[in-house]
Protein backbone atom coordinates (compact mmCIF):
# COMPACT_ATOMS: atom_id res chain seq x y z
CA UNK A 1 0.00 0.00 0.00
CA UNK A 2 1.36 3.39 -0.94
CA UNK A 3 1.14 6.61 1.02
CA UNK A 4 -1.05 9.24 -0.61
CA UNK A 5 -0.42 12.75 0.64
CA UNK A 6 -3.16 15.16 1.66
CA UNK A 7 -2.10 17.55 -1.10
CA UNK A 8 -2.33 14.79 -3.73
CA UNK A 9 -5.78 13.85 -2.56
CA UNK A 10 -6.89 17.48 -2.53
CA UNK A 11 -5.47 18.13 -6.01
CA UNK A 12 -7.14 15.08 -7.52
CA UNK A 13 -10.45 15.84 -5.80
CA UNK A 14 -10.39 19.39 -7.15
CA UNK A 15 -9.65 18.03 -10.62
CA UNK A 16 -12.62 15.70 -10.45
CA UNK A 17 -14.89 18.55 -9.42
CA UNK A 18 -13.56 20.80 -12.21
CA UNK A 19 -14.26 17.98 -14.68
CA UNK A 20 -17.90 17.97 -13.52
CA UNK A 21 -18.07 21.63 -14.50
CA UNK A 22 -16.64 20.86 -17.91
CA UNK A 23 -19.03 17.95 -18.45
CA UNK A 24 -21.97 20.17 -17.49
CA UNK A 25 -20.90 22.68 -20.15
CA UNK A 26 -20.51 19.96 -22.78
CA UNK A 27 -23.94 18.47 -22.17
CA UNK A 28 -25.58 21.89 -21.96
CA UNK A 29 -23.88 22.94 -25.19
CA UNK A 30 -24.91 19.76 -27.01
CA UNK A 31 -28.34 19.73 -25.34
CA UNK A 32 -27.74 15.97 -25.20
CA UNK A 33 -25.80 13.58 -23.02
CA UNK A 34 -25.72 11.79 -19.68
CA UNK A 35 -24.90 13.85 -16.60
CA UNK A 36 -25.91 11.63 -13.67
CA UNK A 37 -23.54 8.73 -14.33
CA UNK A 38 -20.77 11.09 -15.47
CA UNK A 39 -20.89 12.98 -12.18
CA UNK A 40 -20.85 9.78 -10.11
CA UNK A 41 -17.73 8.41 -11.83
CA UNK A 42 -15.67 11.64 -11.70
CA UNK A 43 -13.35 10.72 -8.82
CA UNK A 44 -12.88 7.16 -10.11
CA UNK A 45 -11.76 8.29 -13.57
CA UNK A 46 -9.61 11.08 -12.16
CA UNK A 47 -7.81 8.66 -9.84
CA UNK A 48 -7.16 6.30 -12.73
CA UNK A 49 -6.08 8.80 -15.39
CA UNK A 50 -4.13 11.20 -13.18
CA UNK A 51 -2.48 8.87 -10.74
CA UNK A 52 -2.89 5.15 -11.04
CA UNK A 53 -2.74 4.17 -14.71
CA UNK A 54 0.51 3.67 -16.52
CA UNK A 55 -0.06 5.35 -19.86
CA UNK A 56 1.41 7.80 -22.34
CA UNK A 57 -1.14 10.11 -24.01
CA UNK A 58 1.26 10.68 -26.90
CA UNK A 59 1.44 6.93 -27.54
CA UNK A 60 -2.13 5.70 -27.03
CA UNK A 61 -1.18 2.34 -28.61
CA UNK A 62 1.89 1.80 -26.39
CA UNK A 63 1.82 -1.99 -25.92
CA UNK A 64 2.75 -1.82 -22.24
CA UNK A 65 0.09 0.71 -21.28
CA UNK A 66 -2.57 -0.14 -18.75
CA UNK A 67 -5.93 -0.71 -20.46
CA UNK A 68 -8.87 1.34 -19.21
CA UNK A 69 -12.12 -0.16 -20.49
CA UNK A 70 -14.92 2.33 -19.92
CA UNK A 71 -17.79 -0.10 -20.04
CA UNK A 72 -20.52 2.34 -18.92
CA UNK A 73 -20.14 4.14 -22.23
CA UNK A 74 -23.11 6.49 -21.87
CA UNK A 75 -21.18 8.48 -19.25
CA UNK A 76 -18.41 9.22 -21.78
CA UNK A 77 -18.55 13.00 -21.35
CA UNK A 78 -16.49 12.42 -18.20
CA UNK A 79 -14.16 9.96 -19.98
CA UNK A 80 -13.51 12.50 -22.75
CA UNK A 81 -12.91 15.30 -20.26
CA UNK A 82 -10.41 13.27 -18.25
CA UNK A 83 -8.65 12.17 -21.45
CA UNK A 84 -8.43 15.70 -22.81
CA UNK A 85 -6.96 17.12 -19.60
CA UNK A 86 -4.56 14.17 -19.46
CA UNK A 87 -3.27 15.20 -22.89
CA UNK A 88 -4.85 12.74 -25.32
CA UNK A 89 -6.37 15.55 -27.39
CA UNK A 90 -6.92 19.33 -27.13
CA UNK A 91 -9.29 20.46 -24.40
CA UNK A 92 -11.03 22.77 -26.92
CA UNK A 93 -12.21 19.67 -28.80
CA UNK A 94 -14.46 18.76 -25.87
CA UNK A 95 -17.08 21.22 -27.04
CA UNK A 96 -17.55 19.22 -30.27
CA UNK A 97 -19.16 16.48 -28.15
CA UNK A 98 -22.08 14.80 -29.96
CA UNK A 99 -21.78 17.07 -33.02
CA UNK A 100 -21.20 16.20 -36.69
CA UNK A 101 -17.55 15.55 -37.64
CA UNK A 102 -16.55 15.13 -34.00
CA UNK A 103 -14.30 12.35 -32.73
CA UNK A 104 -16.31 12.58 -29.51
CA UNK A 105 -19.23 10.43 -30.54
CA UNK A 106 -22.36 10.09 -28.41
CA UNK A 107 -20.88 6.85 -27.14
CA UNK A 108 -17.14 6.06 -27.30
CA UNK A 109 -15.68 5.04 -30.67
CA UNK A 110 -12.24 3.47 -30.40
CA UNK A 111 -11.56 3.86 -34.11
CA UNK A 112 -12.23 7.61 -34.22
CA UNK A 113 -10.61 8.53 -30.91
CA UNK A 114 -7.19 6.98 -30.11
CA UNK A 115 -6.92 6.19 -26.43
CA UNK A 116 -10.46 4.86 -26.19
CA UNK A 117 -9.93 1.12 -25.75
CA UNK A 118 -13.41 -0.19 -26.59
CA UNK A 119 -16.65 0.95 -28.15
CA UNK A 120 -19.27 0.98 -25.43
CA UNK A 121 -22.82 2.03 -24.80
CA UNK A 122 -24.42 -1.32 -25.44
CA UNK A 123 -23.80 -2.24 -21.83
CA UNK A 124 -22.20 -5.18 -20.11
CA UNK A 125 -19.20 -6.01 -22.25
CA UNK A 126 -16.17 -4.46 -20.58
CA UNK A 127 -15.50 -7.44 -18.33
CA UNK A 128 -15.53 -10.08 -21.09
CA UNK A 129 -13.45 -7.93 -23.45
CA UNK A 130 -11.13 -7.25 -20.53
CA UNK A 131 -10.75 -11.01 -20.08
CA UNK A 132 -9.48 -11.25 -23.66
CA UNK A 133 -7.03 -8.40 -23.11
CA UNK A 134 -5.81 -9.80 -19.80
CA UNK A 135 -5.27 -13.21 -21.41
CA UNK A 136 -3.30 -11.63 -24.25
CA UNK A 137 -1.15 -9.60 -21.84
CA UNK A 138 -0.41 -12.69 -19.82
CA UNK A 139 0.52 -14.66 -22.95
CA UNK A 140 2.91 -11.95 -24.05
CA UNK A 141 4.45 -11.49 -20.58
CA UNK A 142 6.03 -8.11 -21.19
CA UNK A 143 8.87 -7.32 -18.86
CA UNK A 144 8.22 -4.65 -16.24
CA UNK A 145 8.83 -1.32 -17.88
CA UNK A 146 11.21 1.36 -16.71
CA UNK A 147 8.40 3.85 -17.16
CA UNK A 148 6.18 3.82 -14.14
CA UNK A 149 2.88 5.36 -13.22
CA UNK A 150 2.93 8.18 -10.66
CA UNK A 151 1.76 5.58 -8.16
CA UNK A 152 5.25 4.07 -8.52
CA UNK A 153 3.74 0.74 -9.46
CA UNK A 154 6.12 -0.94 -11.89
CA UNK A 155 4.30 -4.12 -12.71
CA UNK A 156 3.39 -5.29 -16.16
CA UNK A 157 0.38 -3.79 -17.90
CA UNK A 158 -2.97 -4.39 -16.29
CA UNK A 159 -6.60 -4.15 -17.36
CA UNK A 160 -9.13 -1.92 -15.53
CA UNK A 161 -12.84 -2.04 -16.33
CA UNK A 162 -15.19 0.71 -15.17
CA UNK A 163 -18.72 -0.65 -14.77
CA UNK A 164 -22.08 0.89 -14.02
CA UNK A 165 -24.47 -0.69 -11.54
CA UNK A 166 -27.47 -0.90 -13.88
CA UNK A 167 -25.04 -2.43 -16.34
CA UNK A 168 -24.50 -5.50 -14.20
CA UNK A 169 -28.11 -6.50 -14.92
CA UNK A 170 -26.68 -7.88 -18.17
CA UNK A 171 -25.93 -11.60 -18.27
CA UNK A 172 -22.74 -11.24 -20.29
CA UNK A 173 -21.17 -9.39 -17.32
CA UNK A 174 -21.43 -12.59 -15.32
CA UNK A 175 -20.26 -14.77 -18.21
CA UNK A 176 -17.14 -12.60 -18.29
CA UNK A 177 -16.83 -12.71 -14.50
CA UNK A 178 -16.81 -16.51 -14.58
CA UNK A 179 -14.20 -16.60 -17.34
CA UNK A 180 -11.97 -14.14 -15.44
CA UNK A 181 -12.07 -16.38 -12.38
CA UNK A 182 -11.54 -19.57 -14.39
CA UNK A 183 -8.38 -18.15 -15.96
CA UNK A 184 -7.21 -16.68 -12.63
CA UNK A 185 -6.72 -13.24 -14.15
CA UNK A 186 -4.87 -11.36 -11.43
CA UNK A 187 -4.10 -8.66 -13.99
CA UNK A 188 -7.77 -7.71 -14.34
CA UNK A 189 -9.60 -5.32 -12.04
CA UNK A 190 -13.07 -3.82 -12.21
CA UNK A 191 -14.39 -0.70 -10.53
CA UNK A 192 -18.16 -0.65 -10.05
CA UNK A 193 -19.69 2.83 -10.01
CA UNK A 194 -22.49 1.88 -7.63
CA UNK A 195 -24.59 5.02 -7.76
CA UNK A 196 -27.82 3.15 -7.04
CA UNK A 197 -29.87 4.64 -9.87
CA UNK A 198 -30.46 3.50 -13.43
CA UNK A 199 -32.48 4.94 -16.30
CA UNK A 200 -36.02 4.42 -15.02
CA UNK A 201 -35.49 4.26 -11.28
CA UNK A 202 -33.52 2.91 -8.35
CA UNK A 203 -31.41 -0.17 -9.06
CA UNK A 204 -33.07 -1.79 -6.06
CA UNK A 205 -36.46 -1.42 -7.75
CA UNK A 206 -35.59 -1.99 -11.41
CA UNK A 207 -33.63 -5.18 -10.81
CA UNK A 208 -32.48 -5.88 -7.27
CA UNK A 209 -28.78 -6.75 -7.42
CA UNK A 210 -28.02 -7.06 -3.72
CA UNK A 211 -26.03 -8.65 -2.26
CA UNK A 212 -23.62 -7.24 -4.84
CA UNK A 213 -20.40 -7.88 -2.92
CA UNK A 214 -21.42 -11.45 -2.11
CA UNK A 215 -22.25 -12.09 -5.77
CA UNK A 216 -18.76 -11.09 -6.94
CA UNK A 217 -17.17 -13.04 -4.11
CA UNK A 218 -19.19 -16.09 -5.07
CA UNK A 219 -17.97 -15.68 -8.64
CA UNK A 220 -14.40 -15.93 -7.39
CA UNK A 221 -13.40 -12.28 -7.32
CA UNK A 222 -11.48 -10.35 -4.68
CA UNK A 223 -13.87 -7.67 -3.40
CA UNK A 224 -13.37 -4.29 -1.76
CA UNK A 225 -16.07 -1.76 -0.85
CA UNK A 226 -15.28 1.93 -0.65
CA UNK A 227 -16.74 5.42 -0.79
CA UNK A 228 -16.36 6.20 -4.48
CA UNK A 229 -16.13 9.93 -3.94
CA UNK A 230 -13.35 9.64 -1.35
CA UNK A 231 -10.11 10.04 -3.32
CA UNK A 232 -7.94 8.54 -0.63
CA UNK A 233 -10.08 5.41 -0.46
CA UNK A 234 -10.07 5.07 -4.27
CA UNK A 235 -6.28 5.33 -4.51
CA UNK A 236 -5.72 2.84 -1.72
CA UNK A 237 -8.22 0.38 -3.14
CA UNK A 238 -6.55 0.54 -6.58
CA UNK A 239 -3.20 -0.18 -4.94
CA UNK A 240 -4.69 -3.07 -3.03
CA UNK A 241 -6.31 -4.50 -6.18
CA UNK A 242 -2.90 -4.55 -7.87
CA UNK A 243 -1.58 -6.77 -5.11
CA UNK A 244 -4.20 -9.45 -5.69
CA UNK A 245 -2.73 -12.42 -7.48
CA UNK A 246 -4.28 -15.31 -9.36
CA UNK A 247 -7.79 -13.93 -9.28
CA UNK A 248 -9.60 -10.86 -10.60
CA UNK A 249 -10.46 -7.99 -8.32
CA UNK A 250 -13.41 -5.63 -8.05
CA UNK A 251 -13.76 -2.36 -6.18
CA UNK A 252 -17.37 -1.65 -5.35
CA UNK A 253 -17.40 2.13 -5.20
CA UNK A 254 -20.49 3.51 -3.51
CA UNK A 255 -21.32 6.78 -5.25
CA UNK A 256 -24.14 9.26 -5.78
CA UNK A 257 -25.76 9.64 -9.16
CA UNK A 258 -25.65 13.29 -10.18
CA UNK A 259 -23.05 14.00 -7.46
CA UNK A 260 -22.43 17.67 -6.80
CA UNK A 261 -25.71 19.17 -7.97
CA UNK A 262 -28.39 19.06 -5.29
CA UNK A 263 -31.37 18.78 -7.62
CA UNK A 264 -29.75 16.06 -9.75
CA UNK A 265 -28.56 13.76 -6.97
CA UNK A 266 -30.38 10.42 -6.63
CA UNK A 267 -32.81 11.43 -9.42
CA UNK A 268 -33.06 9.02 -12.34
CA UNK A 269 -34.52 11.77 -14.55
CA UNK A 270 -30.97 13.18 -14.81
CA UNK A 271 -29.69 9.93 -16.31
CA UNK A 272 -29.94 11.28 -19.82
CA UNK A 273 -31.57 14.71 -19.74
CA UNK A 274 -29.84 17.97 -20.74
CA UNK A 275 -30.37 20.99 -18.47
CA UNK A 276 -32.33 24.12 -19.38
CA UNK A 277 -30.55 27.47 -19.17
CA UNK A 278 -31.86 28.08 -15.67
CA UNK A 279 -30.95 24.57 -14.51
CA UNK A 280 -27.53 24.93 -16.08
CA UNK A 281 -26.83 28.16 -14.21
CA UNK A 282 -27.95 26.72 -10.88
CA UNK A 283 -25.90 23.56 -11.42
CA UNK A 284 -22.84 25.55 -12.46
CA UNK A 285 -23.07 27.71 -9.35
CA UNK A 286 -23.29 24.66 -7.09
CA UNK A 287 -20.37 22.90 -8.76
CA UNK A 288 -18.21 26.01 -8.61
CA UNK A 289 -19.03 26.36 -4.94
CA UNK A 290 -17.94 22.76 -4.45
CA UNK A 291 -14.70 23.40 -6.31
CA UNK A 292 -13.85 26.34 -4.02
CA UNK A 293 -14.08 24.00 -1.05
CA UNK A 294 -11.19 21.93 -2.49
CA UNK A 295 -9.16 24.93 -3.55
CA UNK A 296 -9.18 26.65 -0.14
Amino acid sequence: MHYHSESLIRDLSAKAQSFRIHVLKMVYNAQSGHLGGAFSVAEILTALFFHHLRLDPLRPDWPERDRLLFSKGHACAMLYTAMAYRGFFPVEELMTFRQLDSRLQGHPDRVKLPGVEICAGPLGQGVAIGVGMALALRMDQPKPSAITAPSARASRARVYVVLGDGEINAGVVWEGAMAAAKYRLGNLAAILDYNGVQQTGAVADVMPMEPVAAKWEAFGWHVQEIDGHNMGEILSALDRADEVHARPSIIIAHTTKGKGVSFMEYDNRWHGMPPTKEQYERALAELEEGLKAWQN
Partner: protein, 313 residues
Protein backbone atom coordinates in the same frame (compact mmCIF):
# COMPACT_ATOMS: atom_id res chain seq x y z
CA UNK B 1 -20.12 -38.98 -57.87
CA UNK B 2 -17.24 -37.13 -56.26
CA UNK B 3 -15.48 -38.50 -53.20
CA UNK B 4 -17.06 -37.41 -49.89
CA UNK B 5 -14.88 -35.82 -47.20
CA UNK B 6 -15.82 -34.56 -43.73
CA UNK B 7 -15.53 -30.78 -43.80
CA UNK B 8 -15.12 -30.23 -40.05
CA UNK B 9 -12.19 -32.63 -39.92
CA UNK B 10 -10.54 -30.75 -42.76
CA UNK B 11 -11.16 -27.58 -40.76
CA UNK B 12 -9.55 -28.97 -37.62
CA UNK B 13 -6.47 -30.00 -39.59
CA UNK B 14 -6.24 -26.63 -41.32
CA UNK B 15 -6.56 -24.87 -37.96
CA UNK B 16 -3.67 -26.86 -36.50
CA UNK B 17 -1.53 -26.02 -39.52
CA UNK B 18 -2.42 -22.36 -39.06
CA UNK B 19 -1.37 -22.61 -35.42
CA UNK B 20 2.02 -23.94 -36.51
CA UNK B 21 2.49 -21.21 -39.11
CA UNK B 22 1.29 -18.22 -37.10
CA UNK B 23 2.01 -17.87 -33.36
CA UNK B 24 -0.55 -15.05 -33.08
CA UNK B 25 -3.43 -17.39 -33.91
CA UNK B 26 -5.50 -18.27 -30.84
CA UNK B 27 -8.68 -20.34 -30.78
CA UNK B 28 -11.81 -19.93 -28.66
CA UNK B 29 -14.69 -22.29 -28.10
CA UNK B 30 -18.12 -22.16 -26.51
CA UNK B 31 -17.89 -25.78 -25.45
CA UNK B 32 -18.65 -27.49 -28.74
CA UNK B 33 -15.05 -28.16 -29.76
CA UNK B 34 -15.69 -31.85 -30.36
CA UNK B 35 -18.54 -30.86 -32.69
CA UNK B 36 -16.64 -28.30 -34.76
CA UNK B 37 -13.27 -30.11 -34.46
CA UNK B 38 -11.45 -27.13 -32.96
CA UNK B 39 -10.45 -29.67 -30.29
CA UNK B 40 -7.64 -30.61 -32.66
CA UNK B 41 -6.11 -27.18 -32.09
CA UNK B 42 -6.62 -27.55 -28.35
CA UNK B 43 -4.65 -30.79 -28.39
CA UNK B 44 -1.82 -29.22 -30.38
CA UNK B 45 -1.70 -25.83 -28.62
CA UNK B 46 -3.40 -26.04 -25.22
CA UNK B 47 -2.00 -22.68 -24.09
CA UNK B 48 -3.58 -20.89 -27.05
CA UNK B 49 -7.04 -22.42 -26.68
CA UNK B 50 -9.80 -20.95 -24.48
CA UNK B 51 -13.13 -22.59 -23.69
CA UNK B 52 -15.45 -19.96 -22.20
CA UNK B 53 -18.28 -22.40 -21.60
CA UNK B 54 -21.75 -22.21 -23.09
CA UNK B 55 -21.60 -18.44 -23.36
CA UNK B 56 -21.54 -17.22 -26.93
CA UNK B 57 -21.70 -13.50 -26.15
CA UNK B 58 -18.71 -13.91 -23.87
CA UNK B 59 -17.01 -15.98 -26.60
CA UNK B 60 -17.12 -13.07 -29.03
CA UNK B 61 -16.23 -10.42 -26.43
CA UNK B 62 -13.20 -12.35 -25.17
CA UNK B 63 -12.11 -12.79 -28.79
CA UNK B 64 -12.53 -9.03 -29.25
CA UNK B 65 -10.19 -8.35 -26.32
CA UNK B 66 -7.60 -10.74 -27.75
CA UNK B 67 -7.91 -9.11 -31.17
CA UNK B 68 -7.45 -5.61 -29.76
CA UNK B 69 -4.25 -6.95 -28.17
CA UNK B 70 -2.74 -8.13 -31.46
CA UNK B 71 -3.85 -11.75 -31.46
CA UNK B 72 -5.77 -13.35 -34.33
CA UNK B 73 -8.63 -15.07 -32.53
CA UNK B 74 -10.69 -17.78 -34.21
CA UNK B 75 -13.99 -17.95 -32.29
CA UNK B 76 -15.81 -21.24 -32.78
CA UNK B 77 -19.40 -22.21 -32.28
CA UNK B 78 -22.54 -23.01 -34.24
CA UNK B 79 -23.39 -20.61 -37.04
CA UNK B 80 -26.83 -19.74 -35.74
CA UNK B 81 -25.41 -18.77 -32.33
CA UNK B 82 -22.79 -16.45 -33.80
CA UNK B 83 -25.33 -14.84 -36.11
CA UNK B 84 -28.13 -14.46 -33.59
CA UNK B 85 -27.22 -14.77 -29.91
CA UNK B 86 -23.84 -13.05 -30.20
CA UNK B 87 -24.87 -10.66 -32.95
CA UNK B 88 -24.73 -7.43 -30.95
CA UNK B 89 -21.16 -8.20 -29.88
CA UNK B 90 -20.26 -8.92 -33.48
CA UNK B 91 -21.83 -5.68 -34.69
CA UNK B 92 -20.53 -3.34 -32.00
CA UNK B 93 -16.98 -4.62 -31.60
CA UNK B 94 -16.00 -6.71 -34.63
CA UNK B 95 -17.65 -4.48 -37.22
CA UNK B 96 -18.00 -0.99 -35.70
CA UNK B 97 -14.94 -1.34 -33.46
CA UNK B 98 -12.94 -3.12 -36.20
CA UNK B 99 -11.84 -6.05 -34.05
CA UNK B 100 -9.90 -8.53 -36.16
CA UNK B 101 -11.96 -11.53 -35.03
CA UNK B 102 -12.52 -14.60 -37.16
CA UNK B 103 -15.98 -16.08 -36.60
CA UNK B 104 -15.80 -19.79 -37.36
CA UNK B 105 -19.39 -20.76 -38.02
CA UNK B 106 -19.90 -24.50 -37.72
CA UNK B 107 -23.00 -26.39 -38.86
CA UNK B 108 -23.96 -23.87 -41.55
CA UNK B 109 -27.29 -24.13 -43.36
CA UNK B 110 -29.28 -27.25 -42.53
CA UNK B 111 -26.17 -29.43 -42.28
CA UNK B 112 -26.89 -30.24 -38.63
CA UNK B 113 -29.99 -31.79 -40.13
CA UNK B 114 -31.11 -34.18 -37.40
CA UNK B 115 -30.87 -31.57 -34.64
CA UNK B 116 -33.61 -29.65 -36.37
CA UNK B 117 -34.53 -26.03 -37.08
CA UNK B 118 -33.30 -24.79 -33.67
CA UNK B 119 -29.81 -25.73 -34.85
CA UNK B 120 -30.08 -24.82 -38.54
CA UNK B 121 -28.55 -21.54 -39.73
CA UNK B 122 -30.66 -20.30 -42.61
CA UNK B 123 -30.54 -16.54 -42.00
CA UNK B 124 -26.88 -16.08 -41.03
CA UNK B 125 -25.57 -14.96 -44.41
CA UNK B 126 -28.25 -12.27 -44.67
CA UNK B 127 -27.52 -11.06 -41.15
CA UNK B 128 -23.75 -10.99 -41.49
CA UNK B 129 -23.83 -9.51 -44.98
CA UNK B 130 -25.80 -6.51 -43.75
CA UNK B 131 -23.05 -5.44 -41.32
CA UNK B 132 -20.55 -2.80 -42.51
CA UNK B 133 -16.92 -4.01 -42.38
CA UNK B 134 -17.89 -7.70 -42.28
CA UNK B 135 -16.50 -10.24 -44.76
CA UNK B 136 -18.54 -13.38 -45.44
CA UNK B 137 -16.86 -16.52 -46.81
CA UNK B 138 -18.49 -19.89 -47.53
CA UNK B 139 -16.10 -22.65 -48.67
CA UNK B 140 -17.48 -25.28 -51.02
CA UNK B 141 -15.34 -28.27 -50.14
CA UNK B 142 -12.48 -29.37 -47.93
CA UNK B 143 -9.77 -28.14 -50.29
CA UNK B 144 -11.44 -24.74 -50.17
CA UNK B 145 -11.34 -24.82 -46.37
CA UNK B 146 -7.63 -25.60 -46.33
CA UNK B 147 -6.80 -23.01 -48.98
CA UNK B 148 -9.01 -20.22 -47.65
CA UNK B 149 -8.30 -20.50 -43.94
CA UNK B 150 -4.77 -18.99 -44.09
CA UNK B 151 -6.23 -16.13 -46.13
CA UNK B 152 -8.85 -15.61 -43.44
CA UNK B 153 -6.04 -15.27 -40.90
CA UNK B 154 -4.21 -12.73 -43.08
CA UNK B 155 -7.35 -10.76 -43.96
CA UNK B 156 -7.54 -7.45 -42.08
CA UNK B 157 -10.85 -7.30 -40.24
CA UNK B 158 -13.63 -9.60 -39.13
CA UNK B 159 -14.55 -12.63 -41.23
CA UNK B 160 -17.61 -14.86 -40.96
CA UNK B 161 -16.47 -18.29 -42.23
CA UNK B 162 -19.45 -20.61 -42.70
CA UNK B 163 -18.81 -24.33 -42.84
CA UNK B 164 -20.69 -27.55 -43.36
CA UNK B 165 -21.03 -30.18 -40.65
CA UNK B 166 -21.03 -33.17 -42.95
CA UNK B 167 -19.20 -35.13 -45.60
CA UNK B 168 -19.22 -33.01 -48.73
CA UNK B 169 -18.24 -33.82 -52.33
CA UNK B 170 -14.60 -33.17 -53.15
CA UNK B 171 -14.82 -30.67 -56.02
CA UNK B 172 -11.30 -29.29 -56.23
CA UNK B 173 -7.74 -30.58 -56.29
CA UNK B 174 -4.44 -28.96 -55.39
CA UNK B 175 -4.57 -26.73 -58.46
CA UNK B 176 -7.52 -24.81 -57.00
CA UNK B 177 -6.35 -21.32 -55.98
CA UNK B 178 -9.24 -19.42 -54.40
CA UNK B 179 -8.78 -15.78 -53.36
CA UNK B 180 -11.04 -14.06 -50.85
CA UNK B 181 -13.18 -11.60 -52.81
CA UNK B 182 -12.78 -13.35 -56.14
CA UNK B 183 -15.33 -15.55 -57.89
CA UNK B 184 -14.18 -18.35 -60.19
CA UNK B 185 -15.75 -20.18 -63.12
CA UNK B 186 -15.67 -23.92 -62.52
CA UNK B 187 -17.52 -24.95 -65.71
CA UNK B 188 -17.72 -23.20 -69.05
CA UNK B 189 -21.07 -22.40 -70.64
CA UNK B 190 -22.86 -19.68 -72.58
CA UNK B 191 -26.64 -19.98 -72.04
CA UNK B 192 -26.97 -19.29 -68.31
CA UNK B 193 -24.67 -19.00 -65.29
CA UNK B 194 -25.35 -21.12 -62.22
CA UNK B 195 -23.80 -19.33 -59.25
CA UNK B 196 -23.29 -21.64 -56.29
CA UNK B 197 -21.92 -21.22 -52.80
CA UNK B 198 -21.05 -23.86 -50.23
CA UNK B 199 -22.51 -27.29 -50.76
CA UNK B 200 -24.86 -25.99 -53.45
CA UNK B 201 -21.91 -25.56 -55.81
CA UNK B 202 -21.78 -29.34 -56.19
CA UNK B 203 -25.51 -29.39 -56.91
CA UNK B 204 -25.04 -26.67 -59.54
CA UNK B 205 -22.46 -28.88 -61.26
CA UNK B 206 -24.90 -31.79 -61.25
CA UNK B 207 -27.63 -29.54 -62.59
CA UNK B 208 -25.33 -28.33 -65.39
CA UNK B 209 -24.84 -31.93 -66.53
CA UNK B 210 -28.59 -32.49 -66.67
CA UNK B 211 -29.13 -29.20 -68.48
CA UNK B 212 -26.51 -30.17 -71.06
CA UNK B 213 -28.53 -33.25 -71.94
CA UNK B 214 -31.46 -31.02 -72.82
CA UNK B 215 -29.36 -28.58 -74.81
CA UNK B 216 -28.78 -25.82 -72.26
CA UNK B 217 -25.11 -24.94 -71.99
CA UNK B 218 -24.77 -23.80 -68.38
CA UNK B 219 -21.75 -22.04 -66.95
CA UNK B 220 -21.06 -22.72 -63.27
CA UNK B 221 -19.41 -20.09 -61.10
CA UNK B 222 -18.29 -20.43 -57.51
CA UNK B 223 -18.81 -17.49 -55.18
CA UNK B 224 -17.24 -18.33 -51.84
CA UNK B 225 -16.96 -14.68 -50.81
CA UNK B 226 -20.47 -13.35 -50.53
CA UNK B 227 -19.14 -10.09 -49.13
CA UNK B 228 -17.30 -8.28 -50.61
CA UNK B 229 -19.00 -9.73 -53.66
CA UNK B 230 -16.99 -10.02 -56.89
CA UNK B 231 -19.34 -7.69 -58.75
CA UNK B 232 -17.18 -7.64 -61.89
CA UNK B 233 -17.43 -11.42 -62.26
CA UNK B 234 -21.19 -11.36 -61.71
CA UNK B 235 -21.73 -8.63 -64.29
CA UNK B 236 -19.43 -10.39 -66.75
CA UNK B 237 -21.49 -13.57 -66.42
CA UNK B 238 -24.70 -11.59 -66.82
CA UNK B 239 -23.35 -9.99 -69.98
CA UNK B 240 -21.91 -13.20 -71.46
CA UNK B 241 -24.70 -15.66 -70.63
CA UNK B 242 -27.71 -13.34 -70.30
CA UNK B 243 -29.31 -15.14 -67.34
CA UNK B 244 -28.31 -16.11 -63.81
CA UNK B 245 -29.32 -18.70 -61.23
CA UNK B 246 -28.12 -18.46 -57.64
CA UNK B 247 -28.06 -21.49 -55.35
CA UNK B 248 -27.44 -21.37 -51.61
CA UNK B 249 -28.23 -23.34 -48.48
CA UNK B 250 -30.01 -20.39 -46.92
CA UNK B 251 -33.28 -18.55 -46.84
CA UNK B 252 -34.17 -17.08 -50.22
CA UNK B 253 -34.14 -13.66 -48.52
CA UNK B 254 -30.96 -11.69 -48.06
CA UNK B 255 -28.23 -14.16 -49.00
CA UNK B 256 -26.23 -14.89 -52.15
CA UNK B 257 -29.28 -14.49 -54.39
CA UNK B 258 -30.00 -11.08 -52.96
CA UNK B 259 -26.38 -10.00 -53.25
CA UNK B 260 -26.23 -11.03 -56.90
CA UNK B 261 -29.58 -9.42 -57.68
CA UNK B 262 -28.50 -6.15 -56.09
CA UNK B 263 -25.46 -6.06 -58.38
CA UNK B 264 -27.15 -6.93 -61.68
CA UNK B 265 -30.20 -4.76 -61.08
CA UNK B 266 -27.87 -1.78 -60.86
CA UNK B 267 -25.28 -2.71 -63.43
CA UNK B 268 -26.69 -5.09 -66.04
CA UNK B 269 -30.28 -6.29 -65.52
CA UNK B 270 -30.87 -9.87 -66.68
CA UNK B 271 -33.25 -12.59 -65.45
CA UNK B 272 -32.11 -13.94 -62.07
CA UNK B 273 -33.69 -16.98 -60.41
CA UNK B 274 -32.86 -17.69 -56.78
CA UNK B 275 -32.64 -21.22 -55.37
CA UNK B 276 -32.83 -21.58 -51.59
CA UNK B 277 -35.23 -22.12 -48.72
CA UNK B 278 -38.58 -20.41 -49.45
CA UNK B 279 -38.66 -18.21 -46.33
CA UNK B 280 -39.72 -20.83 -43.82
CA UNK B 281 -38.26 -23.01 -41.10
CA UNK B 282 -37.44 -26.59 -42.05
CA UNK B 283 -37.56 -29.76 -39.93
CA UNK B 284 -35.54 -32.70 -38.64
CA UNK B 285 -34.32 -35.33 -41.07
CA UNK B 286 -31.50 -36.74 -43.23
CA UNK B 287 -29.36 -33.98 -44.74
CA UNK B 288 -29.79 -34.74 -48.44
CA UNK B 289 -33.52 -35.30 -48.03
CA UNK B 290 -33.89 -31.96 -46.22
CA UNK B 291 -32.08 -30.13 -49.00
CA UNK B 292 -34.31 -31.82 -51.56
CA UNK B 293 -37.53 -31.08 -49.71
CA UNK B 294 -36.84 -27.44 -48.88
CA UNK B 295 -36.06 -26.00 -52.29
CA UNK B 296 -32.43 -26.99 -52.77
CA UNK B 297 -32.71 -30.16 -54.89
CA UNK B 298 -30.66 -30.50 -58.07
CA UNK B 299 -33.97 -30.35 -59.92
CA UNK B 300 -34.73 -26.99 -58.27
CA UNK B 301 -31.56 -25.64 -59.85
CA UNK B 302 -32.48 -27.24 -63.19
CA UNK B 303 -35.98 -25.75 -63.16
CA UNK B 304 -34.62 -22.34 -62.16
CA UNK B 305 -32.15 -22.49 -65.05
CA UNK B 306 -34.85 -23.40 -67.56
CA UNK B 307 -36.99 -20.50 -66.31
CA UNK B 308 -34.06 -18.07 -66.41
CA UNK B 309 -33.21 -19.08 -69.97
CA UNK B 310 -36.86 -18.81 -71.02
CA UNK B 311 -37.05 -15.32 -69.54
CA UNK B 312 -34.17 -14.08 -71.68
CA UNK B 313 -35.28 -11.63 -74.36
Amino acid sequence: MAELVLMRKAYGEALVQLGRDNPNVVVLSADVSNSDFSYMFQEAFPDRFFNVGIAEQCLVDVAVGLAYSGKIPFANTFAFLLATRALEMVRTHCCYGEANVKLMAAYGGVSDSFDGPTHHAITDIAIMRSLPNMTVVVPSDTVAVAKLLPQVADWQGPVYFRMNRNEVPMLFDHTYEPRIGKAADVRRGKDVTLIGTGLMLSRCLEAAEMLASEGIDARVMEIHTIKPLDADAVVRSARETGALVTAEEHNIIGGLGAAVTEVVSDAYPVPVKRVGIPDRFTETGPYAALLDRYGMAVMDVVRAARAAVAAKK
